[in-house]
Symmetry: C2
Subunit: 362 residues, 2 copies
Amino acid sequence: MAETNQREATIRDVARLAGCGIATVSRVLNESGPVSDTSRRLVVDAARELGFEFSDVGRSLRNAVTRTIGCVVPSINNPVYAAAVQGIQTVARANGHQLLLSCTGYDLDEEYAAVKTLIGKRVDALILTMSDIKASRAVELLHNRKLKHCLLFNHMPGIPQRSAVDNCSAGFRVGLAFAEAGHDRVGYIALRLAQSDRAQQRFEGLSAFCQTTGLEAPALLEIEEQSRNLDQRLSAFLIANPAVTGLFVSNDLLAIAIIGALRRLGLSVPGDLSIVGFDGIEFGQMLQPTLATIATDPHAMGQASAYMVLSSILRRPATDTLAASADFEFRPGGSLGRPPSKDALAKKLQLLRQLSPAHASF
Amino acid sequence: MAETNQREATIRDVARLAGCGIATVSRVLNESGPVSDTSRRLVVDAARELGFEFSDVGRSLRNAVTRTIGCVVPSINNPVYAAAVQGIQTVARANGHQLLLSCTGYDLDEEYAAVKTLIGKRVDALILTMSDIKASRAVELLHNRKLKHCLLFNHMPGIPQRSAVDNCSAGFRVGLAFAEAGHDRVGYIALRLAQSDRAQQRFEGLSAFCQTTGLEAPALLEIEEQSRNLDQRLSAFLIANPAVTGLFVSNDLLAIAIIGALRRLGLSVPGDLSIVGFDGIEFGQMLQPTLATIATDPHAMGQASAYMVLSSILRRPATDTLAASADFEFRPGGSLGRPPSKDALAKKLQLLRQLSPAHASF
DNA sequence: GATGGATATGGAAACGTTTCCATAGTTAAA
DNA sequence: TTTAACTATGGAAACGTTTCCATATCCATC
């Protein structure tokens, strides 16, 4: 650990050493006005000698601009958000802005606190991903205050966004994929459904598909915590819904965990059950079988949202080549196959039922 | 997009509305001095009415403290760095600090620029992961300037760090694992070896093991870009080193890609070749076979580094329960098995050689 | 009734910038 | 030589805080 922080050199120190006024220093170092060659040399030398670096805090105070954008996401352990943040960061940096990051862990109060803090930090803009936008008090904070902001992954009527896939349509599309493969009874699995508007919308889309095509409504399994009793919960769910042959899982991360759980339960994918995920993370393609999913482009979405807020901050037409960032497409994969014969699955489930008590014990 | 930013309310506005001086407003809202009940009420009401929030930029200027820590990592698309950043963020937040994040894309110049910018932003501390610490000009910037900082994942004699695994020992350990499984000729695969001190150290460790046990030095394959000609490069490498039966890959992400490439080349893991990765990312455990690797705890390492810098900033004994964050351990996995019979592998490689021209064409 | 010590309050300075404005110096034109 | 126009320069104000210090008010004590 370095010793105690000594005072950083200020523009005044440079001026003193160069033997001129601070205005001249500013003009030289910012190339913002006429200066004689001699002054320039004096100032540049003095600045180098002192290792001078402008303080953005003084600058921000004076300019009423921090060149900083705030970013609130649930977590960057999920590669989807990581990619989005990476996209934001890249664009922000390219435009001379820094990124103030807050991860809220899917917690409403943390979201609120984060937004409040970032407002205090006087970020120039805010890019937000809320776990449940409808329930969020955080957005109220922004409503009166006219801070530039936009949503990422979320939808909300009054609030600008540029980069959220239409989860409902995507859910519908998944229903179609299942139907095309011959499944007539599907289930939906989500993590903390109540706290995720996106998970809800995906479910709605799937349900809508079932309804319009006359299929039975999807069975629903909500997981509270991605914990160890996943196997048990899943097993119970399958036993309770023996007709289900296709599972739509609210995101790829969870889908991969579900595939692992199924494997531990002695069920194969897609032999016994078909799985479709959501997001299109790279890892899905490295599994065997590959994960069928809804492919999205979170990196581009992050970039698009950054472009959006930046172009409004910078007051220049955004160089925006990213019109289609929020599109999605169904990506086929080995995890979605034809449904098994009723008998085959029934037999496996029977086996599972017998094992069930054993599972319940841990 | 919200309309034009109107001026935020200042402490002066609150004072005016409450009919008192700004000192009183500060005392009330910060609970930092004696105030009468009437003043308190007046001020609180006025602040609420205006939606007042202290400006951290004014505050930072006055206090010479920004309550912000800077973090420089190569990328958060790699789950290892994502976890570390997440760890830093959590600890920072819990201690009232915000995180200014810069991803540098393994680029030395970007690293330099990032550090410079963050110094300008007057972060209270800096947590750095450099791609190649020895070659880094960025650390020089910190040397004279006594800004608190620490390294994450990197080692460097003069610079404090708290959270970097001993890559060399880990590499040695991997050598041991291969030897125990019966391999006597191993290879090492790294991405941009020249730009990653960590990849180099891991290689050194493996080489050291080979040397001390009298094995032949590991064959080395360096990949420049994780691009599509990976298959081709890999195939050429295997043909050139037909005795190699075990591959140590410099990180899990790349290891997973390599496994995919091997599969495309018609080689099986661990049937034909054994693989050991590095990092211990979760996904490795979801593959089949599971990935043998060096398991580390990047989240804890991030936390530890944040504790380290924060405890020095805050001048209070850090609540540090994370003594062992930089430990590693070898995690066995299905990707490391016994070496195949010489004949079997030779036959496959023969096949590969015949295919080779075809591969070279795309 | 004057003095003294609390207690509450507001003015003002300082933090590090940028930029407006006034001034000093220099050259060109009258 | 005087005036005009321009260039280079530095002083000073403002941005939003916190905190020191001085002052004003009040109550208790002598």
